[in-house]
Symmetry: C2
């Protein structure tokens, strides 16, 4: 099938760029002795996870238990869940999953740790646990090295659990300091910190500047998006994903309406209050989205697309845009080579 024959809106991935992006980060992390554990939340496609593993990733990262189940079904055997798993229903699924793959977990509270311990003991398993700490984002995570050390000692004391290390997002100088202080606190107890997991595509090329990191979780790097471009972590010719859309209305000389709105691109505004980059018309501004319409201000464009013309849009935030589609089409040149189900999409639980 030719790209021209695909109807819009459609999620398109450039297969050569995808492969190059996967290999580029792998080479970099290999060169610096950092384990690569890519985050599949961006693509949610088992076939891409397999490409990442084939390139040398030690395992993958999933944000939701349901994503991990889909990836395990697809043959991924080493999965990290950097997310507190709370509640009996999920804990039962967690131990079922831990029986069939190498699973490592995260906790930032005694509540989460007690749940894991109870589930591990009931299932007769040992679960690997990392502690999440806050390196400045102000989201989850223990707040101080003292809290981290206390929680680590609780994990160590619990049958069924094995304390493995520390996890944060993003990885930065503050994170290194936190890890060193926690390591010093735990040294007295003889508790080692084996794994230190940092993440984030915007800062991926600075991973080697971190003194403590042992593994890196990047997600967006496979595709790239406007945020990655603005962060300087990828160049325009490395962006591997776009939403193909059609001009469905030209109500005025200065305005075009596309068939891709907030249900195709998601609603993540850029700092310039745009909703994506139109590759064919870089002077155009995607200024507003309604659910199924993208509003394009063409006033700065010398050439302007007529109704029926198709354009490629790089989303501001690719992870939430991809999450809206059931399929992604892999293309090479003008040939559509593959249609992959976004198999872990909708795995919200």
């Amino acid at each position: 099938m030719k790209l021209d024959e695909l109807d819009t809106p459609a999620l398109i991935v450039d297969l050569d760029r995808l492969r190059a992006n996967i290999e580029r980060l792998q080479r970099y992390l290999d060169a610096h002795g950092i384990a690569n554990r890519p985050h599949i939340k961006t693509h949610k496609v088992p076939q891409i996870a397999q490409m990442q593993l084939a390139a040398g990733a030690v395992g993958i990262t999933c944000q939701k238990l349901g994503e991990a189940e889909v990836m395990a079904d697809a043959g991924c055997t080493d999965i990290f869940l950097p997310y507190n798993i709370i509640g009996e229903a999920k804990l039962a699924r967690l131990t079922a999953l831990a029986r069939r793959i190498n699973l490592s977990l995260t906790a930032d509270s005694a509540f989460a740790v007690h749940g894991y311990a109870r589930a591990a003991q009931e299932a007769g398993l040992v679960l690997d646990v990392l502690i999440e700490f806050d390196s400045g984002m102000g989201r989850c995570g223990v707040q101080t090295p003292a809290e981290a050390a206390t929680l680590a000692r609780q994990i160590v004391a619990m049958p069924g659990l094995c304390f493995r290390g520390l996890m944060t997002y993003p990885g930065n100088a503050q994170a290194d300091l936190f890890v060193r202080e926690t390591r010093a606190l735990l040294a007295a107890d003889g508790i080692p910190i084996e794994r230190v997991s940092y993440g984030g595509t915007p800062t991926m090329w600075q991973a080697h500047e971190r003194s403590e990191v042992t593994e890196y979780r990047a997600g967006t790097y496979v595709y790239g998006d406007c945020a990655t471009l603005y962060a300087g972590a990828m160049t325009p010719d490395q962006i591997a994903l776009y939403v193909l859309a059609t001009v469905v209305s030209r109500p005025t000389a200065g305005r075009a309406i596309l068939d891709a709105g907030s249900k195709a691109l998601s609603e993540h505004p850029s700092a310039q209050n745009d909703y994506g980059l139109i590759l064919e018309y870089p002077q155009a501004r995607l200024t507003r989205l309604s659910e199924e319409h993208g509003w394009v201000d063409l006033r700065a464009c010398a050439n302007r697309p007529p109704i029926g013309e198709r354009v490629r849009i790089v989303p501001n935030h690719v992870c939430t845009a991809v999450n809206l589609f059931d399929h992604v089409f892999g293309v090479r040149g003008d040939e559509v080579e593959v249609m992959w189900p976004v198999a872990a999409r909708g795995q919200v639980r």
Copy 2:
């Protein structure tokens, strides 16, 4: 199954409120002699469309051709598509659909009209077409009554097409004026405007103040959301949908993290820059979303939820939140009575 047994995040609809919302708008539109043609883009659930039809709707409205195909498969026999259908692939599907149901279409350009005419002639069908006009939103639609009249004359002149009337969103006083002026222009040609279709939940209770409207398209009214509350179109005890979420972290005294982020609630900020209303903690502010985390500022709350507590979140914009889930659970009291697939979700084309 009990509501307590449902894992989170989950999309929950209160079945009694849903029914009451459907019946309330139907009664109001019936009382004013306005045809009810609800927009299914909000729920995307065939069973709810059937409830709307059973209550007295003349047909339904779908925004995408794919949604209309799903609803036709589910037995809906009268569908309005208020969206320019552009491109040969969609036109082929359009005529296939028009063969099996009563379908009416929209155009705002000669380009769209020519496509419909070509498709109708090739299929040996007559297609009903309404003209979209801009009543101030600045999205799609012809800009002036003169443009509308010119396009109407083109439609009338084309074999295979039947000009039915005018369509806009939202319906307002400006819309009435536009319709009257267009009617006057077309009177000389003996071209009647039979159908005048307005839409929008925020303004639905003002529909009877419109002099020209013959049918009304509301979508959000079945569920309601924060935007509907702020617009004064529904009261808190009429809101029929919420996202059930769990507190997964309490990193500080003033902060809770929920397992519902932008992939469960969508990223539509309110004027106050909140991302939803937490029913159990109205003083709490859902200030930020990452993909799978909701950040809750609890500092104004006297009582604060511990880890593991479940809360109900009313989304800011229910249409984009619902679009993220594959299923919605229908509850009555604490009993989960039904699980409906969000069958038309992902029908982006």
